[in-house]
Amino acid sequence: MRQSIIHWFKFASPQGFYPLAGRMIPWFWAAAAIFGISGLWISFFVAPTDAQQGEGYRIIFIHVPASWMSMFIYLVMAFWAALGLALNTRVSGMMAQALAPTGALMAALSLWTGAFWGKPMWGAWWVWDARLTSELILFFLYLGFMALQAAIDDPRRADKAGAILALVGVVNIPIIYFSVKWWNTLHQGSTINLNKAPSMAQTMLWGMLLMALAFWMYSIAVALTRVRAIILERERHTEWVKHALE
């Protein structure tokens, strides 16, 4: 064993993770800014106007990355929850708690921008499409997770209860998604079909990918900032926190 191997388990303790998170945050903020500025520039000035949808389509540069992140963050949250339950590491529970508000924000943003997009395109703020409905349910799952964590005073119990809920939720997400999808095809109420996406211009795709990366970096930066605050709050009785704040 050489000494240069990083001791990863050091970062499983709040004391070890706090300075690491502090060092990583500026980099993720910088990456978010670079990707965000270039992505917005492409999406507003380079990407051509859509032949059918006009300028209104540009909202998808926010809408699609937000939807992706809302789903991905739930998976990451469930991953940390499982890790916390299996290895009993404290930072895992804090990570899950720190990710939830960002995930809920992304789900809300996705629903909101979806409504803005739907009004001019479909003539309705809301339709009971399978994707919209499952995004709404995902938003409810985030709210349930945050409400449960907020209702339990003991942080260790809140972490474990939240972890069980996140895992139950992640098992249910595919079931909910397919049931909503089949429910929608059974009813055939709306004539809108989101599945036939028109072939996208290359620049549009680039804009979307850059925006997705920007959202990704932003989510990591915000989650790390939040987890630092959670660490300070929970470890306030320890000596190292008193020194860290000096």
Binding site: A147, A151, R157, L165, V168, N172, I175
Partner: protein, 221 residues
């Protein structure tokens, strides 16, 4: 297995000593389903169309009403801790409690549903499908609900929180349960709906007592 049956017998006996608690949920079911025609109007064609959805949503809410009682009393008087310490596995005892909860809160709904369905002008075969779907669906509701009940045990504002946690997870049961009846009325095949409902029931019967036990152990720490 004896431990499971003993738990079922004990819970049913306790509930029968205080009948009003069980009957409240049942009457809630009756009243809520009767409110819809008053709110929507007495037109038979419309009522027939929305009947499966209304009966299912009312069954969902009535099940939810009985869930906080599932573990609360045992938690307060320490029985739950004794169960966790007993030589029989806690998962088995929890499964017994869930079964008792279904017998007390779910089964009455299944038996009442055909009677309430008559209010909505459903014909005999539709009533049969509705009862069958509820028979498969209500145990699923009890199983999923037990996880939520265990997670919110002794938590501030547990009742409202329980609804927030559990209702999104009830959506698949609602879709396939009400969907089976709707498909039957529309003249479509209902095998798929009932099979999926049964598949979810099997899956939940395997995993839910386990997840509930984990949540209870967290609450008992």
């Amino acid at each position: 297995m004896n431990a499971l049956l003993a738990t079922v017998r004990r819970d049913i006996l306790l509930a029968l000593r205080r009948k009003s608690e069980v009957l409240t949920a049942v009457f809630f079911f009756v009243i809520v389903t009767s409110l819809f025609p008053l709110g929507i109007g007495p037109e038979p064609a419309l009522l027939k169309k929305i009947a499966p959805g209304i009966l299912w949503v009312a069954a969902l809410l009535a099940t939810l009403l009985g869930l906080p009682r599932l573990f609360a009393a045992d938690h307060v008087d320490g029985t739950l801790e004794q169960m966790a310490l007993s030589p029989s596995p806690l998962g088995l005892l929890v499964a017994g409690k869930i079964l008792a909860h279904w017998l007390l809160c779910g089964l009455p709904l299944v038996l009442l549903a055909p009677v309430l369905g008559l209010q909505f002008d459903l014909d005999a075969s539709a009533l049969g499908i509705l009862t069958l779907a509820l028979l498969l669906g209500t145990p699923l509701l009890s199983l999923i609900g037990a996880i939520g009940a265990a997670l919110t045990l002794g938590v501030r504002g547990g009742g409202v929180l329980l609804a927030l946690l559990v209702l999104p997870l009830y959506i698949p049961a609602l879709i396939f349960g009400a969907g089976a009846v709707e498909a039957h009325i529309a003249g479509l095949d209902i095998g798929g709906h009932l099979s999926l409902l049964a598949a979810m029931l099997v899956l939940a019967a395997f995993f839910a007592p386990w997840a509930t036990t984990a949540a209870l152990r967290v609450a008992l720490e």
